[in-house]
C-alpha cells in the first residue's frame, strides 16, 4: 500500500484478516446470486400485475422459487455449440461477461463498521482511492463478453446484436462518466465510502439533480434494459448476442445482466442517494438508525427501489428506435452533462473564492441568459435547414404509376400524371410554317 493510497482511502481498509476477506467475498457473491433470483421473480410478478395477470405462482410460496426452477431447467438443457462458431471464444465469452459484473461489487459499501466474530470491519469488501474509476473500468471489460459472444457465434443476428450492444454501452458510458465528475467535485474523493460519508447532510441527488437524472438514464442504457434493450430487440434481432447460446451458458448471460442491474443500482444509491445512510425522516426520529447493521437495510431498500424502477420502465415504455437512442445519447445527454458540470464547477469556484450567494446566482443566471440569447440569435441568423420543410417546398415527387411494372393507384397527396392525349390540331392560318407550330402546340397540350 502506498502512502497516498492510505491517505485517500477511508481508514480501516486493507487491514482485514484473510478469513474475513474470504467470508465477505463469499457473502457478497451469495448476495448477488440471491438478488438475481429474487429480481427475476419480482420482475415477472410486477410486470404481470401491471398487465392484469398473476405471474409465476406454483413454484414455492407465491412462485418465489420460479427462477431457481428455471435455473435447474436450463442446466438440464442441451449445450449446443454452433457449427460456424469460434469455439474457444464462444465458450469463454459468457464468463467474460459475468465475472466483471461480480467484481464491481468489491467496492460497493453495504454499511459502516460493524463487528463480525469480535473483529471490527467495514461492511464493504475493500475500498480504493479510485473506487468509482475501478467500477467503470470493470464494467467496460464486461462489454467484451457481449461483443465476443456476438462475434464468435458465426451467425448474422448475434453479430449485429453484439455490435449494437457495444455501441450502446460506450455511447452511454460517456454521459455516465461526466455525471460522476460533478459528484467528485463535491465529495473531493473517488472512494465510495468517503462519497457516502460526504452525503451525511444532503444527498447528491438533491444537490446535483441534473447529474442524477443523466446517470439514471445512462444506467438503463448501460444495462441494456427496456426501453433501451435494442441489443435484444426480439422483433429485429431474435435474441441479439445470445441467440446461439443455450443451457447454462445462456444462464450466465442472464446472471450477468441482472447482477449488472444490481451494480448500477448500488452505484446510484452510493453516489446520489446517500448509500447506506438512513433517509432523513428516520434519522430525525431515531438516533441509532445509522449504527450497527441497520444501514444494510437502508442500502437494500434503496437498491430495491431502483430495481423496481427498472421493472416499471419495462412494463410501461415501448422500445426506442436505434437512431433515436443514439441521438439521445450523443446529442442530448453529452452536451447537457458537460454544460451542467461546468455550471456546477463555476458556482463552486465562486463560492470557494468567497463571493456572496446572491451575486453567484446573479452571475450564473446572467451567463445562462446570455447563452440562451446567443442561441436564439444564432437560430435567427442561420437559414432554416429543416430538410423536411425543404422537401415539402420542392413539392411531391413525380408519381409513376407503372414503376413496379404494373399500374398502382396513387397514395393520398399524389397526383396521377396527365393522360397523354393526341393533340387536337387547331385550324392553321394559311401560309404559316406547319413545322414551327407543331412542337409548341404539343408542349402546351402536355403541360
Amino acid at each position: 500500500m502506498t502512502d497516498s493510497g492510505m491517505q485517500l482511502a477511508a481508514v480501516g481498509f486493507g487491514t482485514d484478516v484473510w478469513w474475513l476477506i474470504l467470508l465477505k467475498a463469499v457473502l457478497i457473491f451469495a448476495f448477488c446470486v440471491v438478488m438475481t433470483l429474487f429480481a427475476i421473480w419480482w420482475e415477472r410478478k410486477v410486470v404481470a400485475w401491471m398487465q392484469m395477470r398473476i405471474g409465476p405462482k406454483y413454484t414455492g410460496p407465491q412462485g418465489l422459487l420460479q427462477s431457481l426452477a428455471d435455473g435447474v431447467k436450463l442446466a438440464l438443457k442441451e449445450d449446443i455449440t454452433v457449427k460456424g462458431a469460434d469455439k474457444a471464444v464462444y465458450i469463454i465469452a459468457p464468463i467474460v461477461a459475468m465475472v466483471p459484473a461480480f467484481m464491481a461489487f468489491a467496492v460497493i459499501p453495504f454499511g459502516p463498521e460493524v463487528s463480525i466474530f469480535g473483529h471490527r470491519t467495514h461492511l464493504q469488501l475493500t475500498d480504493l482511492p479510485v473506487a468509482v474509476l475501478y467500477i467503470l473500468a470493470v464494467a467496460s471489460v464486461g462489454i467484451y463478453g457481449i461483443v465476443l459472444a456476438g462475434w464468435s457465434s458465426g451467425s448474422t443476428y448475434p453479430l449485429l446484436g453484439g455490435l449494437r450492444s457495444s455501441a450502446q454501452m460506450i455511447s452511454y458510458e460517456i454521459a455516465m462518466g461526466l455525471s460522476f465528475a460533478a459528484v467528485f467535485l463535491y465529495s473531493g474523493s473517488m472512494s465510495t465510502s468517503e462519497i457516502v460519508a460526504a452525503q451525511q447532510d444532503t444527498w447528491y441527488a438533491v444537490l446535483l439533480p441534473v447529474s442524477f437524472i443523466i446517470y439514471v438514464v445512462a444506467m438503463i442504457g448501460e444495462t441494456n434494459r427496456a426501453p433501451f434493450d435494442l441489443p435484444e430487440a426480439e422483433g429485429e434481432l431474435v435474441g441479439g448476442f445470445h441467440t446461439e447460446y443455450s443451457s447454462l451458458k445462456f444462464a450466465l448471460f442472464f446472471l450477468a445482466e441482472y447482477v449488472n442491474m444490481v451494480v448500477v443500482s448500488s452505484l446510484a444509491t452510493t453516489l446520489f442517494l446517500g448509500g447506506y445512510l438512513a433517509p432523513w425522516p428516520i434519522t430525525a426520529v431515531w438516533e441509532g438508525a445509522n449504527s450497527g447493521w441497520w444501514p444494510f437495510l437502508w442500502y437494500f431498500l434503496k437498491v430495491q427501489a431502483f430495481i423496481f424502477v427498472f421493472i416499471w420502465l419495462r412494463g410501461t415504455l415501448p422500445r426506442f428506435r436505434y437512431d433515436q437512442f443514439m441521438k439521445i445519447g450523443w446529442k442530448v445527454l453529452i452536451p447537457l452533462s458537460l454544460v451542467w458540470l461546468m455550471l456546477v464547477a463555476t458556482v463552486r469556484a465562486l463560492k470557494n473564492e468567497g463571493y456572496e450567494q446572491s451575486r453567484i446566482v446573479l452571475w450564473v443566471a446572467g451567463g445562462v441568459v446570455a447563452l440562451l440569447l446567443l442561441s436564439i440569435l444564432w437560430d435567427a441568423v442561420t437559414p432554416n435547414r429543416d430538410e423536411e420543410a425543404d422537401a415539402k417546398a420542392a413539392g411531391p415527387e413525380p408519381f409513376d404509376p407503372m414503376a413496379g411494372g404494373f399500374p398502382v393507384p396513387p397514395m393520398p397527396g399524389q397526383q396521377l400524371p396527365p393522360v397523354p392525349r393526341r393533340n387536337v390540331r387547331k385550324p392553321e392560318p394559311v401560309g404559316a410554317p406547319a413545322a414551327a407550330e407543331l412542337p409548341a402546340d404539343r408542349t402546351e397540350g402536355e403541360a
Binding site: 469488501l125 480504493l128 451458458k249
Partner: protein, 119 residues
C-alpha cells in the same frame, strides 16, 4: 493485506462459479445432435454464409468507437481535476473551461459534419 487483493478473491470466486457451471452444463444436458441443430439460426431460412467468426458490419460502429475514445480521454482528464478542484481554485476552473471549450469545438464540428447521424 493489500487493498486490491480482496478484489481478486471475489473475482476468483466468480470465475470458479462460471467454470463450474460451464462444465456442469456440458455434463448434465442431453446430447442428441443432428445437423440442423448445429446450423446458425436465421428464422428458418438457410443461414447467410459467414466467414469464420462473423461477417462484415457497418463502418458506423467504428466511428462510434473512435468518438468514444475521444470523449473518454476527456473524462479521464476531468476526474483528477474534479477531485482536487477545491485546492486548484480559480486557475483550475479557467484551465478546464479552456480544455472543455476546445473539445466542444470538435464536438460541434462533428455534429455539423453529420458524424452523429445514425440512419
Amino acid at each position: 493485506m493489500n487493498l486490491y487483493a480482496p478484489i481478486l478473491v471475489l473475482g476468483g470466486i466468480a470465475l470458479a462459479f462460471g467454470v463450474v457451471s460451464l462444465v456442469m452444463g456440458a455434463l448434465t444436458g442431453p446430447k442428441r445432435y443432428n445437423r440442423a441443430k448445429l446450423e446458425a439460426y436465421e428464422c428458418g431460412i438457410e443461414p447467410t454464409p459467414q466467414p469464420i467468426g462473423g461477417g462484415r458490419f457497418p463502418v458506423k460502429y467504428y466511428l462510434t468507437a473512435m468518438l468514444f475514445i475521444v470523449f473518454d480521454i476527456e473524462i479521464v482528464f476531468l476526474y483528477p481535476w474534479a477531485v482536487y478542484f477545491d485546492s486548484l481554485g480559480m486557475f483550475g476552473l479557467v484551465e478546464m473551461a479552456m480544455f472543455v471549450a476546445a473539445v466542444f469545438v470538435a464536438y460541434a464540428y462533428l455534429w455539423r459534419r453529420g458524424g452523429l447521424e445514425w440512419d
